[in-house]
Amino acid sequence: MAQVTLTVNGKQHTVEVEGRTLLVELLREKLGLTGTHIGCDTSQCGACVVHIDGISVKSCTQLALQADGANILTIEGLADADGTLHPMQEMFREHHALQCGFCTPGMVMTAVDLVQSHPEGLSEKEIREGLEGNLCRCTGYHNIVKAIAAAHPLMHAQAAE
């Protein structure tokens, strides 16, 4: 067992983990943050995407120990403390970009990074390519693409404030 200290959604945690413990297991099992999901075992589905120091990462591909000292944002930390949804969450709801909700946390975290890293704007094709690492079986992606396109101006307007 080893100790890892990391900040998750603004709160610092020090946790005992095995060397083989994955970051997603730490989040789900040690911290009870079950919003981050596990949909595969080959790092293909993206249900486990979180932000590590602002960058979207599949938390099933990282050992918990690698996250020592990191600042992690999960789906639970995306909305404001008063429950006001992040513009990406709001646009997913507005455009019916989720059905069963299982891929949704990873999809939203990927989408937030995609929009943040493209302040100049995103074409439909760029959005679709940007979702390359995330699988959804319910929506056919159509409404996810619409939601991300709609969130882009909202997020960048908010960032400019």
Binding site: T74, I75, Q89, H96, C100, G101, N134, L135, G140, N143
Partner: protein, 798 residues
């Protein structure tokens, strides 16, 4: 106030929890003292289990218990039951071999459970499983349909000759043969409906719990139908009566059919929890999902149509081999019979139809219903055949369809294959789809694409399906071992808010929203004062669950019926309070009124009186306002429509790019257009996946080659085009909502539209037909092999 009743695209109630990471999926649930099960699965397609040495595994750190097949035999556990019995042509019942929850003596597919290691942690259980010493003797395996029915093929089950589960037929062979003997022309097509793996994004999970004080079991499971699981597992496998067994299916991350069935793992964890007096949890790795979730489709068929000089369809003759896998899953026998052959009239007035289906055991994962179930297979077969008829007769493919359509004035229409369609308007859905897809402008787009070196194609499919499953007496006569009604309880609380308990289950369909809209519409209760509860046998009276696009037409109709009872009782209370005759009370917009007066009481006045019955007709009427209804549908429902795919093939690589997809569906009354569009979009994406990329592949020895997302191609965002989705609805005539259901239409109509478009794109290469999936490699090979040589398209010969 914003309108939130029937017809409004109300944003979903469930979304905030899913978007905030507050969903409650089965793997999110943990019980105190919980143990973890790891299932050691067979890596052999077919073998005898000669010995299992569990000593080292049992002694490994953290291990509490190892169970093998002998343990379940000793405990007297039953086999996993099949919910549908088909009879052979000679009247004898289908072969129904035992399906033990842990393999006993033999394994029959890669993934068959051989041993269960239960330990303090998941990792302990996995580590210990490595120490199991299992010796097998391999047996000859049959990995696919054509091999399984060859003379001398290995037998999956002793005593099931030729691996035939059943040999079933519908229609009169001598009559159809007569039609063919005198036909002007016969068009024949051999085709394969590719085997698929459903791949709901949430892997299956089962958590068994046992309350040592009450002696009650609870199973938390990823199910589309918790009551069905309670019935099958309790009555047939574990012999636990309903009152001692609770099944909870909380938030479920997609099903598409694969979470209908009772699976071995559910029984294993429930039984083990009772034996060990501790909760036991099993969570599938995705790799396990690939080799243990029921697969879909997998038909090999020959279809022949007899036509007259004008291209009228005179008779359809079909033989189909349908893969059952190694054991019969819950609904498996019904899929290639009553959900397939009965749909072979399609939207056409073909007067005579004959279909022979042989269901076949193979050494593969069980095959059962996957989104559409049987109806995509029927639609694909018909719509490919119709396009080939058009090609071979020179009749325009749209015109050929039009001239054979069942007319809008022909309903109710009795098909020659048992079903009676209640309503539909195939000319209209076709007309609107052609317009939305700009069918007439296609040749200009093809010419433009050609300048860019691309082969552009367009494909059409017109379809009908049967859903809203199903009238109990009818399905009972066809072999179903259950009724297929649905149940709703409407609880009006003392202060007028409402909780609905539904026997259906929402795993993406948005029932918490649409079902609340039904209550807004009928009772006039505000949307935010309505709660929909599903997925727990301890809360809901009963239910058959969600599949076959049944939740709204059957479950919603049960709600309507229960609300009718609420209103009827409310009228009696209102009549008493307002000193009027019951017949004079009218109910509208949440208010009971004495007709022709200004005397009125709100539903809240009435519910309060019902729960505080001081001034109340207590002699004639029980207190309370809580009504339950069971609704048994009078018929199936028949959504239909037209799908059009437009795509481009790159002749250099064979890769297909989807350009446009247009769907115009008739789903009956629409409660929430936004949700209907989402359901169709998702179904279409699965259909495009089947047509272009998805394929479950076994090698000839029975090893599963497509056992991960690295090998099984799932459609990603960049594979799917913008989807144009619209509805043109006729009402279902036999349920109170007029709704037909929309969950499966997308997956049913789309695959033939895509393949018809691929064949159209390759029309200069002499392609008559190709089997799904139309991968780049496959198309590249076809282009390379074309007589025109190289990859330059031959000039069109017309």
């Amino acid at each position: 106030m914003v309108f939130q009743g029937i017809g409004a695209s109300v944003r979903r109630k469930e979304d905030v929890r899913f978007l905030s990471g507050k969903g409650n999926y089965t793997d999110d649930i943990n019980r105190p003292g919980q143990l973890y099960a790891y299932i050691q699965r067979s890596d052999r397609p077919h073998a005898t289990i000669d010995s299992i040495d569990i000593a080292a595994a049992s002694a490994a750190p953290g291990v509490v218990k190892v169970f093998v097949g002998a343990d379940i035999v000793e405990a007297g556990l039953g086999g996993i039951p099949c919910g549908w019995q088909i009879h052979n042509q000679d009247g004898s019942p289908m072969a129904e071999p035992m399906h033990p929850v842990i393999a006993v003596g033999k394994v029959r597919h890669v993934g068959d459970p051989v041993a269960v290691v239960i330990a303090e942690t998941r990792q302990d259980a996995k580590n210990a499983a490595e120490l199991l010493e299992i010796t097998y003797t391999d047996l000859p395996a049959v990995a696919n349909l054509t091999d399984a029915v060859k003379p001398g093929a290995g037998e999956v089950h002793d005593g099931v000759a030729g691996n035939i589960c059943y040999d079933w037929a519908i229609g009169d062979k001598s009559v159809i043969d007569g039609v063919f003997a005198s036909a002007h022309k016969v068009v024949k097509l051999d085709l394969i409906n590719n085997r698929l793996i459903p791949n709901a994004m949430e892997p299956r999970v089962a958590l068994g719990d046992f309350d040592t004080s009450s002696g009650d079991w609870t199973l938390y499971t990823t199910s589309q139908n918790p009551h069905v699981i309670r019935l099958l597992m309790g009555a047939f496998v574990l012999h636990i009566p309903e009152n001692k067994l609770r099944v909870v299916a909380p938030d479920v991350g997609g099903g598409f059919g694969s979470k209908i069935y009772h699976y071995a793992e559910e029984a294993i964890v429930t039984w083990a929890a009772g034996k060990l007096r501790r909760p036991v949890k099993w969570t599938a790795d995705r790799s396990e999902s690939f080799m243990s979730d029921a697969h879909g489709r997998d038909h090999v068929s020959t279809a022949e149509m007899a036509i007259d000089k004008e291209g009228h369809f005179l008779g359809l003759r079909i033989t189909t081999l349908a893969n059952m896998g190694a054991y019969l899953s819950t609904f498996a026998p019904a899929v290639p019979t009553y959900l397939y052959a009965t749909l072979l009239a399609g939207v056409y007035k073909t007067p005579v139809i004959y279909c022979n289906v042989k269901a076949v055991f193979t050494n593969t994962v069980p095959v059962d219903a996957y989104r559409g179930a049987g109806r995509p297979e029927a639609t694909y077969l018909l719509e490919r055949l119709v396009d080939v008829i058009a090609m071979e007769t020179g009749i325009d493919k749209v015109e050929l369809r039009r001239k054979n359509f069942i007319g809008v004035d022909a309903f109710p229409y009795q098909t020659p294959v048992a079903l009676q369609y209640d309503s539909g308007d195939y000319q209209t859905t076709l007309k609107v789809a052609l317009k939305n897809a700009d069918w007439d402008g296609f040749e200009a787009r093809r010419a433009e694409a050609k300048k860019r070196g691309k082969l552009r194609g367009i494909g059409i499919s017109t379809y009908v399906e049967a859903c809203g499953i199903a009238p109990s007496a009818v399905v009972g006569s066809l072999g179903a071992r259950a009724g297929l009604y649905e149940v709703a309880e409407i609880r009006v609380h003392p202060t007028g808010s409402v909780t609905v308990f539904t026997g259906t289950h929402s795993h993406g369909q948005g029932h918490e929203t649409t079902f609340a809209q039904l209550v807004v519409d009928q009772l006039g209760v505000p949307f935010d004062q309505i709660e929909i509860v599903h997925g727990d046998t301890a809360k809901i009276p009963f239910g058959m669950g969600t599949y076959g696009s049944r939740s709204l037409p059957v479950g919603g109709s049960a709600m309507v019926k229960a609300m009718d009872k609420v209103i009827a009782k409310g009228k009696k209370i209102a009549a008493h309070l307002m000193e009027a005759a019951v017949e004079d009370i009218e109910f509208k917009d949440n208010t009971f009124t004495v007709a022709g007066t200004d005397k009125s009481k709100t539903l809240t006045d009435i519910s309060l009186a019902a729960y505080v019955p001081h001034n109340y007709p207590i002699e004639e009427l029980e207190p309370g306002l809580d009504e339950t209804a069971f609704y048994d549908p009078k018929n199936f429902t028949f959504p239909g429509g037209c799908h059009i795919a437009e795509l481009e093939v790159d002749p250099e690589t064979g890769v297909v790019e989807m350009i446009n997809f247009t769907a115009v569906d008739d789903v009956g009354r629409v409660i929430n257009p936004m949700i209907v569009e989402g359901q169709v979009q998702g179904g279409v994406a699965q259909g495009i996946g089947q047509a272009l990329m998805e394929a479950c592949i076994y090698d000839s020895s029975g090893q599963l080659l497509s056992g991960s997302y690295m090998d099984y191609t799932m459609p990603r965002a960049n594979d799917i085009p913008n989807l144009s989705v619209a509805t043109e609805n006729t009402m279902c005539t036999h349920n109170p909502l007029g709704s037909k259901g929309c969950g499966e239409v997308g997956a049913i109509g789309s695959p033939p539209a895509v393949i018809n478009a691929v064949v159209d794109a390759l029309k200069d290469y002499g392609v008559r037909h190709l089997d799904m999936p139309a991968t780049g490699a496959k198309l590249w090979s076809i282009i390379q092999a074309a007589p025109s040589s190289g990859n330059a398209p031959a000039m069109a010969a017309e």
